[in-house]
Point group: C2
Chain length 385, copies 2
């Protein structure tokens, strides 16, 4: 194990997926913590909350009433960050002027959805079995499919997901134009800015390709070109399986790793072992493998500090629209960014140095892996009824 | 005012300084907030705290005792993220192997300092007058000077700062090797991961050029080459002075703006109106102007929500070592990244969408400017004695 020395010395690691560096200071965990502490995740909640705007049958800010849905339910965010219709904008600045160089703006249109994960107010992904998570995977797939450009090779292979009618999002309407990107994500827990514990995620689509996927796509394309047609994440998955040091869980289709370049203390990535461009590429069996992988990841998080573990999770995959090369070089994967560092209440702050200079982490990804490997099995608390 | 439409529509703005985009959704402030709230900043503290490891005369974790300093005091962080001496590391991977591509690491050496801003435990920069802040500016300048490469054109013009002996950092010793970068920063407030309210900042130096300054330096060099020798931030300062819409404060030497591309709700940048490469370029008068600008910025922050306003602040300037082009293209400036959005307790969370896709803000920088312009004058609370 020639890399063991990296457990002791400060070093930086390169994130090949986004083309950036992070600083690793393994010895720094000895620092005492006298700063802010988080409230541990709330888990003592009712199955149904009459005040919750996500529970079945309740009224929302828009005045709409939620249907009596069973699993998932999709609606347009009452406070969307982007909208389908707005006034046009073209910069008033003459080309080549200082303003046109230094005050650049472009309009962004799009649509923001909210997606509930369950009718039950008081559970989380960690409390759900793979077959209870499967409808979420199918709903993500369906909503991605209904927004994809007909030019995408993925459009041709899309198939119906056979969701029960109550899980349907037909009522949200077809998109008014072809969007470029769909970002599926979940903010879980108060520490991650989530203001409603009812299990839910969000889906924002935009006419623009956002910063992070643009960085990744560039790295994926570069690797594909320079490595004779190989795919970065397929090569990376193979390497991680060989090494074993950063593998938290695996099944036939997916791998959960604490990536070599992880920034957050217990950051993980779910990645397929073969080249999968988007959710549409998954067979029924592979959808179930993804559901199992999500269950395994979220349960381990909750077990780690015996708390409802906060995180932000997001899905990266092929853009909705783009070039042939972009569709083919994209690799489906999920990021989990959880803030906790030492316990249910002590988090890592990515602040001064991290904001001004470079992300910095205190434990190595290999140390985090060992901790998460040991957290398998049932969730530590009795599943709430 | 042709850009007024940007107050109403979703758009993205380009950050020319770091080469990245951010999403602006001005209408989104109407969202109700039911999520996590922060504790308002603590201000009811004693002038001297016998438990504080930063107060004069107290003992630290290392066993050392702080001198009876008057203004600033510099010492080596007892829990440094980087160290001057550690085992060497060279990657064990054969060139061209998958590991050498995907598991890249490089060792980082350096030194981490803590710098107190005042002997008084219970004040902050917002409570201090420009002449009380001046010793901090002089200490930053002195410590930067003592680490600069003799190859830098700045080395030749460095002059003694005439700090009183108690403010000296001579006892921290000369650096063991030539470092590449010095990051001066302050984390203020529990919300920004600060665990001790005693006013202090940090200074981390490294053998590597960190991610953020590397991005900025690249943009500064590119602009300099493409715009016939002009400096990006000098042009930007001129443009902002002309437009006026984002100028919070100005004196003869400096400008405080809510930058066009600000990510945090009340983010500001302090930038000089002429080309200044580093703290060494400042005359005595300009040092005082910087002290005044810092006082003006921090007081406005505290007045905005009548609280001790949390933020991370950092100084970007010329690298300690580098190419001639890097020294000459660098522009001294300070970033303030404060998290609060609506009140002393409601912050902006940069989470799911922001982490996975693109930073997103709810109010425009122009709206933030108007609010901060109105917060001048004395600090809202009686200065603590
Ligand atoms: O060094 P401190 O103040 O103990 O720690 C604080 O600032 C550091 C530098 O930004 C961060 O890495 C830590 O997460 C934060 O808690
Ligand atoms: O949309 P929500 O859940 O109200 O808001 C949360 O997620 C958004 C998307 O990541 C962020 O912009 C907000 O700052 C955060 O509080």
């Amino acid at each position: 194990m020639p890399d063991k020395i990296l457990d002791d010395i400060s070093h930086r690691r390169y994130n090949t997926l986004r083309g950036s560096w992070i600083l690793v200071s393994p010895h720094r965990t000895k620092r005492p913590w006298q700063g802010q502490t988080e409230s541990p995740g709330v888990i003592d909640l009712p199955t149904y909350d009459p005040q919750c705007y996500l529970c079945p049958g309740n009224k929302r800010a828009s005045g709409d009433t939620n249907p009596d849905y069973k699993n998932t339910f999709v609606f347009i965010n009452d406070y969307s960050a982007v909208k389908e219709e707005q006034e046009d904008y073209t910069s008033p600045d003459a080309q080549g002027s200082l303003s046109s160089l230094l005050l650049q703006a472009e309009p962004v249109k799009g649509k923001c959805y909210v997606l509930t994960f369950s009718a039950r107010h008081n559970i989380t992904l960690a409390d759900m079995s793979p077959s209870e998570i499967l409808p979420i995977v199918k709903t993500w797939t369906e909503i991605y499919t209904s927004h994809i450009s007909p030019k995408s090779p993925l459009a041709a292979i899309a198939k119906p997901t056979h969701l029960p009618p109550s899980d349907h999002h037909a009522h949200v309407g077809a998109p008014k134009e072809q969007y470029r990107w769909m970002q599926i994500f979940e903010n879980k827990g108060a520490a991650m800015g989530c203001s409603n514990p009812h299990p839910h995620g969000q889906i924002w689509t935009t006419t623009t390709l956002p910063e992070e996927p643009a960085l990744e796509l560039e790295q994926l394309r570069k690797y594909h070109r320079e490595q004779g047609g190989s795919h970065l994440l397929v090569d990376y998955a193979r390497l991680e399986r060989e090494k074993g040091e950063r593998v938290v869980f695996q099944n036939e289709t997916f791998l959960v790793v604490c990536p070599w370049w992880a920034t957050w203390p217990f950051e993980t990535m779910i990645l397929p072992v073969k080249h999968i461009r988007s959710l549409i590429d998954l067979s029924d069996k592979e959808q179930m493998d993804l559901a199992e992988t999500i269950a395994e990841t979220t349960r381990r998080y909750d077990n780690l500090f015996e708390t409802s573990f906060p995180y932000s999770m997001g899905i990266h995959q092929a853009p909705l629209d783009g070039s042939k090369e972009e569709f083919e070089c994209s690799s489906l994967h999920l990021h989990f960014y959880p803030p906790l560092l030492r316990s249910a209440t002590v988090r890592k702050f990515l602040v001064g140095y991290e904001m001004m200079a470079e992300p910095q982490r205190d434990i190595t990804p290999e140390q985090a892996t060992v901790r998460l490997q040991a957290c398998g099995g049932e969730v530590y608390r009795k599943t709430l009824q």
